[in-house]
Symmetry: C2
Subunit: 296 residues, 2 copies
C-alpha cells in the first residue's frame, strides 16, 4: 500500500471532533482524515475502500461503553490493532464577537451537555439545546455569528472553525476520558501487544460464565473489562466482550485461550484483537509511530 503519511484514517463526526483528536494521537502526521457521518459509515469505511484504518470510541469513563460500536465491531469483522485514550475537556466556544456575558443559548451533543451540568447551574440565564455533534455545533455557531449563541466542544473544534474559547473546563468531572480502538482489516502481530479483546458466547446453563472464566483465572490473566450485549432472537442470553491484560505470544496465555475455546460451556470464541494497550491509563495520550501501522 502507501507510505505512512498517505494513510487514510476514518473517524465518526465532523472535523474537530474528539474522535479526530484520537486519530491525531495515533497518527501525529496524518494528512488524510476521513470524517464519517455515522458509526455505520465508520465501520464500513475500510471494507468499501475509503479508509485504511478506522478509529472508534469504545467507552467513556463517565457515560460507559458505546454499545453500538461493540455491535458493529462484531458485525464488521474488523480487527483491533491499537487503542488510545483521549481526555475529554469541554470548552465553551462562541463566534468572534462573543463573550461569556453575551451568551444566552449553548448547543452541543446531549452527552456533552449532560457532562457540564454545573456550568448550567451556575449560569441559569443560559439555556442548553441538544444538537447532533459537538464539533458541528461549533461550525454552526461560527457560521451564524450570533454573540448570543455558543457551543460546547473540544478546543480542536475552535481552532478548525475559527471559534473563540470563552471558558475552559466546563466538565463536571475532571476524570473524563474516552478510549478509542484502532481498527484494521488484518490482525496485528506485534511483540508490543499486551492486551487481548475477545467476544464470547456461552451455552445457556447455570455457572457457564464462571466455568468459562476458570482457565483465565487459573492462569492469573487479569480480566480488565467485561461487557454484555443482548443477542437478537435469543432473549435473556448475552454475548460477553472481555478485555484481558495479556500477550498472545505468552505460552501460558495461548494455552488458556485454547482451553477457553474448547470449554464445554463456550459456544463461540472470537478474538477481536491483540494489540498494545494505552498503558498509562491516566495519561491522556499514547502515540504509536505511523510506521508501525503502515503497510509498505
Amino acid at each position: 500500500m502507501s507510505s505512512s503519511h498517505s494513510l487514510r484514517v476514518a473517524f465518526q463526526g465532523e472535523r474537530g471532533a474528539f474522535s479526530e483528536d484520537a486519530v491525531r494521537q495515533l497518527f501525529p502526521e496524518i494528512q488524510n482524515l476521513v470524517p464519517c457521518a455515522s458509526f455505520e459509515a465508520l465501520f464500513a469505511s475500510i471494507g468499501d475502500g475509503t479508509a485504511d484504518y478506522a478509529v472508534a470510541p469504545m467507552e467513556n469513563t463517565l457515560a460507559g461503553s458505546v454499545h453500538r460500536c461493540y455491535d458493529l465491531l462484531l458485525e464488521s469483522g474488523l480487527h483491533i490493532v491499537g487503542e488510545t485514550v483521549v481526555q475529554i475537556r469541554h470548552c465553551l466556544i462562541g463566534c468572534e464577537d462573543s463573550s461569556l456575558n453575551t451568551v444566552r443559548t449553548v448547543e452541543s451533543h446531549p452527552v456533552a451537555l449532560a457532562q457540564c451540568q454545573r456550568f448550567f447551574a451556575q449560569h441559569p440565564h443560559i439555556r442548553s439545546v441538544a444538537s447532533e455533534d459537538t464539533a458541528g455545533s461549533v461550525r454552526h455557531v461560527v457560521e451564524t455569528a450570533d454573540p448570543m449563541l455558543a457551543a460546547i466542544a473540544g478546543a480542536s473544534a475552535a481552532k478548525i472553525y475559527g471559534g473563540r474559547i470563552l471558558a475552559n473546563h466546563l466538565e463536571d468531572h475532571a476524570e473524563n476520558y474516552t478510549r478509542f480502538a484502532l481498527l484494521a482489516n488484518e490482525p496485528l502481530d506485534s511483540s508490543q501487544s499486551d492486551k487481548i479483546s475477545l467476544a464470547l458466547t456461552l451455552h445457556n446453563r447455570p455457572g457457564a460464565l464462571s466455568d468459562a472464566l476458570a482457565p483465565l483465572t487459573r492462569t492469573g490473566i487479569d480480566l480488565i473489562k467485561i461487557e454484555t450485549r443482548p443477542m437478537a432472537g435469543r432473549p435473556w442470553e448475552y454475548r460477553f466482550f472481555l478485555d484481558l491484560a495479556a500477550s498472545r505470544r505468552d505460552a501460558k496465555v495461548k494455552s488458556a485461550l485454547r482451553e477457553l475455546e474448547s470449554s464445554a460451556v463456550v459456544e463461540e470464541l472470537r478474538i477481536l484483537g491483540s494489540y498494545p494497550s494505552a498503558k498509562n491509563k491516566t495519561i491522556h495520550f499514547q502515540t504509536h509511530s505511523n510506521k508501525e501501522f503502515a503497510k509498505q
Copy 2:
C-alpha cells in the same frame, strides 16, 4: 397506607406507553397511574410522595440494558420488589381517516424506528421521523388528523388516543421483550422471592471478579445477568450489577452472600432487591395480585 385499588404507580412516558402495559400487568386493577416525563422524575416519584410504586424498564432483548435506570436505581436507594416482562409489538397507528396507502411520514422514538427497519425498506415512499416518545407520537398524529402522518407504538396507545391501527407486527424481530422492575421504598420479604439483584464494587486488582464470583459458583448459584457501569471519578473501574436465580431464605444462599460481602476483593455489596422473577421468560406477562404489594 391505602387499599390496593388506590395505589399510585409511576411509569416513564405518556399514557399508552409500553411502561403503562407493564404497570397493568403488575397491577391489573390499577386506577392511579402517575406518568413521569423523565427517568429522573420516575425514580424521584416515591421519595417526593407522588407514587407508592415505580415501574422502570431495565433491559430490552434487542437494544440491551437501560443504563440510566441502573444508575438511578443505585442513586435512589429504592428496592426491587418484583418484575414483569412486556412483549414489544409495534403497530402502525394513524388518524381516523388514514390507511396504509395514505401514510407518507411515520414518527416514533428512535429505538422503535430502529426495530422496524424491514417495514421502511418495504415501503420506501414512507419516511421516518424521530420523536420523544412512542405513545406521545400517537397522541400527536391523532390531534393533527393528517392521513399522511402515522406513528409507531403499542396497541394500547391507539386505544387511549383513538388512533386507527393500520398495520401490526412492524418489529423486525418477533423475540422483542422489555423487562421492567417494580420499585418500592421498602424491601420485600416474600417466600415467593426467587431472584436477587446485587450491586458490587471490587478492589482494583487482578482476578478480583473471578475471586468475587467464587462463593456463588461453589454454591451452584446461577448468575443470570451481569452488567457493568463506569464509576465517576474512578476511570477504568466498574460497578457490577448481578442478577442471581436464588432465594434469600435459602441457607446456602445466605451463607454465600455473607462470604461474598466479607471477601477481600469486595469493596461494597448492596442488595438491590429479592423478589419473585417473571418466571417463564418467553411468556409475555407475569401478574402479581395487587394485594401482595398493597400496604394496608
